[in-house]
Amino acid sequence: MTTTDMPRKVDAGPGRAVRKKRPSGAASGGLRRAVPATTLLWVLAALYGLPVLWFVLSSFKPAGDLFSLPLTLLPHDPTLSGYKAAWDSANFSEYFINTTIVCVIATILTVGVSCCTGYALAKYDNKWLKVFFVGILATTMLPGEVMLAPQFLVVRDLGLYNSLAGIIVPAVLTATGCFMFRQFFLTVPDELIEAARIDGARELSIFLRIMVPISRPIMLTLAILSFQWRWNDYIWPLLMLNDPEKFTVQIGIQSLVGAQNINWSVVLGGSVISMIPLIVVFLVFQRYVMNADINAGLKD
């Protein structure tokens, strides 16, 4: 009972009605207030931006200049040699392709499966659904890290060890995805379904032809999140993959940085390359992430 109650909080979400309202309503202010607030904002932004800036700028330095004193922020003669070395020598192109395959397939499956589950949980009611709902809740309390060893054995026994499928399939079920869709479909009026039923539509075609199309914004949000999770996954691919040809980008970077003598030029190049896809995806779809109702917990 306690467990079935909890997600209601999630459903209710932050009261949407008052969403747009902002604090600091006092109309006064003007320049006297804008200056300290803006200064604070940009000092903080600089503090957060500098590490990335230093990292990215360093990656453009030739290998010989990386450690030459005095350190300079801007590279003297910018070069892409680090990127090229990473891309060619460290098998990075292969890692990149593997990771892309994993991300794309896992994301498509996650979105599809979560949409179905979320709809069923929101719009139908029977005791099996309730049981399953509690089951999904349980997965949020037992993250994969807790069950590394047994999960590994299961996937091995299923014959998925050392294959990309071994990374993709176990990652498809996510509580966050199911809850995001459930939360969305709860806001869709039941009358819509009733009307379609009266018109003689069958249950599954109501879902496919009415519900799936209207849930597109949620699909996009979840797709972005799922892409990020899979792109950044480290520990599970590390366990699953034995064959260096199947490594993902994160394993590749870690194997470079875990080496006795770190070749920083290659590490910097490789890391920056690995950042690009996510930053592009984010900048393009920024509003879907920023406005997401992430109360269900972006914690996968």
């Binding site: 306690t2 109650d5 909890m6 209601r8 009261g15 008052v18 969403r19 747009k20 604090p23 600091s24 309503g25 202010g29 207030r33 804008a34 607030a37 803006t38 904002l41 940009w42 903080l44 932004a45 957060y48 590490p51 990335v52 230093w54 990292f55 499966v113 709809y119 069923a120 929101a122 719009k123 029977n126 399953f132 089951g135 999904i136 949020t140 037992l142 890290e145 807790v146 590394l148 060893a149 047994p150 999960q151 498809v172 079920l173 039941d190 249950e203 990020q228 480290y234 994160q250 870690q254 590490v267 910097l268 690995s274 930053i279 984010f282 992430v289 920023m290 992430i294 109360n295 914690k299």
Partner: protein
């Protein structure tokens, strides 16, 4: 839940049975995944924690031996206390910074909010591995920018890598930096939900911004603060990749956290049974956290 779908739950059995097949078809894929990758591992994990299984071949039940060993294992205790210390440092630091930034971002006096927001958000996109690499580069003992600046200013190089505690602090700062975007988003949503009339009334009564923050914002966003603390606690308890790339759990093994310990006993030394027992200790901690969450959620809801 029932309140949300009254028409279905209140309907007579005859009508309800009409709709059993469709939902079951819809959840079928996830049910299979759930059974295969959650239920089955959870059950065999529990069983293996009472055995001396090594991943291959036969195994014997050893009762509570694994758990007894675990409590006498100083490596395990070091990992456990280090994990707790990391959590205790990371959660407040992240909390303070993300709350501060969220407040600045919703303030209508600050200019350039939409651009600045991206700066806070990008670290969250980066993988823990890349974050680790990035901070390792920044805090390298002989080559890092931070030590270079310290020496420039007349200080001496700080042993960020070879001192275990300083090394942990670098990870804490790096994690807070990376995770700010996430907590910040939750805080922004909560702060925007505080009715603006509260602030208007307060400023009429002459309350300054700080006073308004303490007396209005903080109490109003209490549920969100709580969620942020819990999610971050859970996140911190299972941290591993960040340590792997930043200092490899080092120097030596001084910064090996629980997940790394589980990984090493389970996969490097093949003691699956023993690692499963360690996993279940971690699970109990996370369960405790989850139960606190449930209890407090209910209390907040009933308020």
């Amino acid at each position: 839940m029932t309140k949300r779908a009254p028409d279905v739950s209140a309907s007579p059995p005859r009508r309800r049975s009409k709709y059993t097949l469709a939902p079951l078809v819809l959840i079928a894929a996830n049910v299979v995944l759930f059974a295969l990758f959650f239920l089955w591992p959870a059950v065999i994990g529990l069983v293996y924690s009472f055995t001396n299984y090594t991943g291959v071949g036969a195994f014997q039940f050893v009762g509570l031996d694994n758990y007894q060993h675990l409590f006498g294992d100083s490596t395990f205790f070091d990992a456990l206390t280090r994990t707790l210390l990391y959590t205790v440092l990371f959660v407040p630091l992240n909390f303070v910074f993300s709350l501060l930034i969220a407040n600045v971002l919703v303030s209508k006096h600050a200019k350039g909010v939409s651009v600045a927001r991206v700066f806070f958000f990008i670290p969250w996109l980066l993988s823990p591995i890349v974050v680790g690499v990035l901070w390792r580069w920044l805090f390298g003992e002989n080559f890092g920018l931070v030590n270079y600046l310290i020496e420039k200013l007349g200080g001496s190089a700080v042993p960020w890598q070879s001192n275990a505690d300083l090394s942990l602090i670098v990870v804490v700062v790096a994690a807070s930096w990376a995770w700010t975007g996430f907590s910040m988003l939750l805080f922004i949503a909560a702060i925007k939900n505080v009715p603006v009339s509260y602030y208007e009334a307060a400023s009429l009564d002459g309350a300054g911004p700080w006073r308004q923050f303490i007396s209005i914002t903080l109490p109003s966003i209490a549920p969100t603060s709580f969620i942020v603390i819990l999610l971050n606690t859970i996140h911190a308890m299972k941290e591993y990749p960040l340590f792997a790339s930043l200092n490899n759990g080092g120097p030596g093994t001084s910064n090996n956290l629980l997940v790394q310990y589980i990984y090493q006993t389970g996969f490097k030394s093949g003691q699956i049974g023993y690692a499963s027992a360690a996993s279940f200790v971690l699970m109990l901690i996370l369960m405790a956290v989850a139960i606190i969450q449930l209890v407090v959620n209910r209390r907040v809801e009933n308020r």
